[in-house]
């Protein structure tokens, strides 16, 4: 169905689409709908289970709740402190991602566009971090953070059980991927504009912040999103570094605790309610920003 390439009116497009609704199109939609169901049903089922009674949860999985009981949400909110954990997660991930992007892009830029003795070594040092299994470092890492806590002045803000300490660790552990990805990206950028700026006498730092960084925006955006998702997911590191103070816990710690909690408390509807509370804000935020997120991710990977 090759057509002449002319700007088409909306009506024409609609007409085309209607025509395209042949057998092939029907099968297409069937396949797409099947996966939609696979994605949506478990999530909806979780929401439904949160308003069921114990008997209903223990009965047939596909039965609908007779009455909507939202008391489980209250229990989950009170016992599981979901709100507090959510705020903690947002703070830590926001600071962590910002720091990662700032320092990561600085390092990546220098490594990608400046040749100096040791460049390759530093680059490899960063990139080899992609292969470090984090579990190997947990024990010694604990000491490092503890010792940082004994430093004068800054100690109380970056030691164990502080969000500051966790943020620094997040930054350090996110650098390998960030540097690896952004260095590749900076290498592909054209150098003409920067050359012109140098001729005009701009400083290196100024060229970076005012010219190269804006040019690299697609890459920056997509790596940012990667880092947000990655740090939001983290639960090993907070478990070790924020162990003693529940007030400071992040969401994944809370969820992990709830998952073991159902094993002891038998409060199934509260478990589902807590799960729903963890899922809902993420879906809302994502739905609001979905086009930016999708654009950012794809621009970075495609350019």
């Amino acid at each position: 169905m090759a057509e002449a390439v002319i700007p088409r009116s909306r009506a024409q497009v609609r007409q085309e689409r209607r025509r395209a609704l042949g057998p092939f199109a029907a099968l297409t939609h069937l396949a797409l709908l099947a996966w939609t169901v696979l994605v949506v049903v478990p999530i909806v089922w979780t929401f439904l289970a949160s308003v069921k009674s114990e008997d209903e949860i223990f009965g047939d999985a596909w039965s609908l709740p007779a009455v909507l009981r939202f008391d489980s949400w209250g229990r989950a909110w009170e016992q599981a402190h979901i709100g507090q954990y959510m705020i903690n997660s947002v703070i830590v991930v926001a600071c962590g991602t910002f720091g990662t992007m700032l320092f990561g892009s600085m390092a990546a830029y220098v490594l990608a566009r400046y040749s100096f003795f040791g460049n390759r070594a530093v680059y490899l040092l960063f990139v080899s971090g992609l292969a470090f299994p984090v579990y190997l470092a947990l024990g010694p890492l604990f000491f490092v953070v503890q010792n940082m806590g004994t430093l004068p002045v800054v100690g109380p803000f970056i030691g164990l059980g502080t969000h500051g300490g966790l943020v620094l660790v997040y930054i350090a552990y996110s650098l390998p991927f960030t540097v690896f990805f952004l260095a590749a990206f900076f290498r592909t950028l054209p150098g003409a504009v920067a050359e012109a700026a140098f001729v005009d006498g701009a400083s290196h730092a100024r060229v970076f912040f005012q010219i190269m960084l804006p040019m690299a925006k697609p890459g920056i955006v997509s790596v940012t999103i990667f880092n947000v998702l990655g740090q939001w997911n983290q639960y090993q590191l907070p478990l070790v570094l924020l162990n003693s103070d529940r007030q400071k816990w992040v969401l994944t710690q809370g969820i992990a605790e709830i998952s073991t909690a159902a094993g002891y408390d038998a409060d199934w509807s509260a478990l589902f309610a807590a799960l729903s509370m963890a899922i809902l804000p993420m879906l809302v935020v994502y739905t609001i920003f979905q086009s930016q997120i999708q654009k950012g991710l794809t621009a970075g990977a495609l350019k």
Binding site: L124, Q146, E257
Partner: protein
């Protein structure tokens, strides 16, 4: 990997003016300069252990079957009443090791830990590394209720023995757990079923229940096969005597391949093949216990914490009760009524905490008549404190367990490898799950357990214990 010398690292760090943090990063495991245990305060009649009330007492309670209300509402107020100036920091978690292991590593552990649950810390390793306070001063101190009597004389001596490693007490076992097969008195009375006294009667009962078709005869927490290997080992001890379990604990050659162990395993495999609740293999303890409460299954093996753990979802007139494992044959080494029971629910005081004497004092309060009696009522379990139940009202399940324990007398068996070698427990649990699912024969199962025991025996890095 590129190689950078330490000097280069330091120089580049110094360039950026961060030499200090860089040095911090060079902490070896031993670098956590742990302060020497603080000296005890002055002792007196009111303060026999010499706790210092200017330093806080940090408490960590495992949030499991017992919850943590007993600490908050019973024991902490008791201590607070005698030491009003002492600040008590109460914490609770379901993941003891995950949460507190790093605190030990950092040399700043809390004063008191209820080391329990699926994620408990390895006692063997803690003792081996000298991280636990010796409880001898506590047991030799005058008791809370009567200064003329030592603490050690107010409790079940088995509790001290079980908490001892190399002859020194490091762990306080507080609650006495009794294991058995649990059922609903109401259901059994309504159907006219009797708790079986012989293995044949047990099989007949399962058959009767199955034929009735309303309810499955038997289940166990398939996701945690400990529940089934516990019954297998208890039956093995009943058939072959106390030494069967002693040999297993002591990692003796061939201990797992002994005839009584094989017989017991075979018996439960045959029972499981016919009479298990559908889907048992994938259910956890809460799911099976809920099914039990909902009348979907008649019997399950469990410890005496069951009644309390299920208190929120048990029908009012359910009437928990338990029976001991039936006689297997006429040649059983131990008589009818033999029980797997031992003082459990462990509490420890970390030696390197800032105020270990406060932890010991807290234990002394727990071992008072009031502390133990109220605990019994609240969480519905037996304690190691003699006569703590006098004048307290006990729930039906606890009455049943209490009576069974009294009837058992000296015919009480237990095993400790679960505490001593967590690896051994994991392997036996994994193999037992497969055994019950028909993926392993009894011989293969015994083989795997024995192999693991042998490998622990030959592992020089693991400290061995004997009893």
């Amino acid at each position: 990997m590129t190689h950078l010398s330490r000097r280069e690292l330091l120089r580049s760090a110094a360039l950026a003016g961060i030499a200090l943090p860089a040095l911090s990063a060079c902490a070896t495991p031993s670098g956590g300069a742990s302060p020497a245990a603080p000296a005890a305060g002055v002792t007196s009649a009111a303060n026999p252990l010499g706790l210092v009330d200017s330093r806080p007492l940090e408490i960590w309670i495992f949030d499991g079957g017992f919850g943590d209300a007993y600490a908050k509402n019973i024991h902490e107020p008791l201590v607070k009443a005698r030491f009003p100036k002492l600040e008590i920091k109460h914490n609770t978690t379901k993941e003891i090791a995950k949460t507190l292991q790093p605190r030990f590593a950092g040399g700043n552990p809390p004063e008191f830990i209820n080391n329990s649950g699926a994620n408990a810390m390895d006692f063997g390793a803690l003792v081996q590394d000298g991280l636990l306070a010796d409880l001898t001063p506590l047991y030799d101190a005058p008791s809370w209720d009567d200064p003329a009597v030592k603490v050690r004389d107010t409790i079940n001596p088995a509790a001290i023995e079980l908490g001892s490693y190399d002859g020194k007490p490091y762990v306080m076992n507080y609650a006495s757990t009794v294991w058995g097969i649990w059922y609903s008195q109401k259901l059994f009375e309504a159907e006219g079923w009797q708790p079986p006294r012989t293995w044949q009667e047990f099989l007949d009962l399962c058959e009767t229940i199955k034929k009735a078709g309303k309810i499955a005869p038997f289940t166990y927490a398939g996701k945690h096969p400990f529940y089934i290997y516990e019954t297998i080992l208890t039956l093995a001890a009943k058939i072959g005597g106390k030494d069967v379990l002693k040999n297993i604990d002591n990692l003796e050659d061939g201990a797992w391949k002994a005839e009584p162990v094989t017989q017991a395993a075979t018996a439960f495999v045959e029972l499981g093949a016919k009479y298990l609740l559908q889907g048992t293999a994938g259910l956890d303890h809460v799911q099976t216990q809920t099914a039990h409460n909902k009348g979907q299954v008649a019997m399950l093996p469990c410890g005496s914490w069951l009644e309390n753990e299920q208190k929120d979802s048990t029908p009012a007139d359910f009437g928990y009760a338990m029976f001991p494992l039936p006689d297997f044959g006429s040649s059983d080494a131990l008589p009818y009524g033999t029980l797997h029971s031992r003082p459990g629910e462990e509490y420890v005081v970390p030696a390197k905490s800032a105020n270990p004497q406060a932890g010991l004092e807290y234990m002394r309060a727990m071992l008072s008549k009031e502390g133990a009696g109220k605990f019994m009522e609240l969480v519905s379990t037996l304690t190691v404190v003699k006569g703590a139940g006098e004048g307290r009202t006990l729930k039906p399940g606890l009455q049943s367990a209490s009576a069974a324990l009294a009837a058992a007398g000296d015919n009480v068996v237990w095993f400790l490898f679960r505490k001593w070698y967590v690896e051994m427990h994991d392997e036996v649990a994994a193999a037992s799950g497969q055994l019950m699912n028909g993926k392993l024969t009894v011989a293969q199962w015994a083989d795997r357990a024995q192999r693991k025991a042998d490998s622990i025996k030959n592992d020089s890095s693991v400290k061995k214990f004997t009893r």
